[in-house]
């Protein structure tokens, strides 16, 4: 919150008629670079806080899975217990139920996606970072592109190039005349809209959540004007400030649920796309 206020350059509070509520907009998502160097095309490649913590999140995931699975023992000890619980959940739920046959070879991809996305989402409520890394669109975009090329690759490998694209464009529906409507919709949906909404869903959830938390935090500060001790204005200010603070806490709890849910939905949709690419459309 203090950083948001610093970014918004505000020094006044409620009751002071010269400045209105400093509504945070998209500018709170941009950070000054920690260091910056010129890339090969001459533009400045900035190393700022989201990039730093994306690296930290990747390191955390790698270290966790290395400690869990580096030297697996028959009777699990320590971190391997937790790793095995997570692996068994992914095996039963995603590999067997959603993907079906041959699902086991996609478990590493699904586990990596889930863990990485969840830890990047969690950085929104970790004190000190307090910024969801997935709310910078580049990260969900690249993850969605990975999923996109993966499921097209799976489709081509398991059904052959011609059969896969024909299966997507001309599904087996009975009044064949309906294909006039259905084919453009299916092509548009499978190859353009679904990967785009996969990225945008994750990005928009984290963006909206962070913006809401900042609005309530800033209003808790803004409304708490202790210099106007008399009058109705100050009482309204105190009540509003306490209410905003309570709303911040409630929304943090809601955000924790949404972060886990969005990571799960991303992984579930990845598994569903792979399952759909793998099965011949019957």
């Amino acid at each position: 919150m203090l950083k948001a206020l610093a970014l918004l350059e505000v020094t006044c509070k409620f009751g002071d008629d010269s400045c209105p509520f400093p509504a945070p907009g998209a500018e709170i998502f941009f950070f000054p670079p920690i260091t910056s160097f010129t890339g090969p095309d001459g533009s400045a490649w900035e190393f700022n806080k989201p990039v730093l913590f994306a690296g930290v999140a990747a390191l955390v995931v790698i270290i966790f899975f290395l400690t869990a699975f580096a030297r697996p023992k028959l009777v699990p000890r320590g971190m391997q217990n937790l790793g095995e619980v997570i692996y068994i959940f992914f095996k039963n739920h995603f590999a067997k139920d959603v993907i079906g046959q041959g699902g086991e070879k996609y478990i590493p991809l699904l586990m990596s996606l889930f863990s990485f996305i969840w830890i990047m989402n969690l950085s929104s409520i970790i004190p000190g970072i307090q910024f969801p890394i997935t709310s910078r669109f580049a990260f969900p975009l690249i993850l969605s592109l990975i999923v996109y090329f993966t499921f097209i690759g799976v489709g081509i490998k398991s059904q052959g190039v011609g059969a896969y694209f024909k299966g997507v464009a001309f599904p087996d529906v009975q009044p064949r005349a309906i294909l006039v409507l259905l084919t453009p919709l299916e092509i548009l949906s499978t190859f353009i809209i679904r990967p785009a909404t996969l990225a945008i869903r994750l990005f928009a959830n984290m963006f909206a959540g962070h913006l809401l938390l900042v609005i309530f935090s800033v209003s808790a500060w803004y409304l708490l004007n202790l210099t106007n001790f008399v009058g109705v204005v100050s009482v309204v200010g105190y009540v509003g400030s306490i209410a905003s603070f309570i709303m911040t806490i409630v929304l943090t709890a809601f955000e924790m649920f949404i972060q886990l849910l969005q990571a799960y939905i991303f992984t579930l949709l990845t598994a569903m796309f792979i399952a759909e690419a793998q099965s011949a459309h019957h």
Binding site: G25, T197, R201, A204, N205, F207, A208, L261, I265, L268
Partner: protein
């Protein structure tokens, strides 16, 4: 002809308000039918809950795209 009517101010808020109508109805239908399905067959609670959550996330995405679009495309 000059301008007959004009909308000024935060048009993004109006856009988000309009964008929230459809997903609101959709999510209500999803969870309503889900609860009914659970009432009919309580043993299938796990499967029903999973499909409810999937449907909720897909419908919610559109409402949130409506929330984010004014920030991305706005002035």
């Amino acid at each position: 002809m000059g301008i007959l009517a004009e909308l000024t101010g935060s048009i993004g808020s109006i856009g988000f308000g309009l964008a929230a109508i459809g997903p609101g109805v959709g999510i209500g239908i999803i969870f309503g039918n889900g609860v009914q399905a659970i009432a009919r067959q309580p043993e299938a609670y796990g499967v029903i809950r999973q499909n409810m959550i999937l449907g909720f996330a897909l419908a919610e995405a559109l409402a949130l795209i409506g929330f984010v679009a004014p920030f991305v495309f706005g002035t």
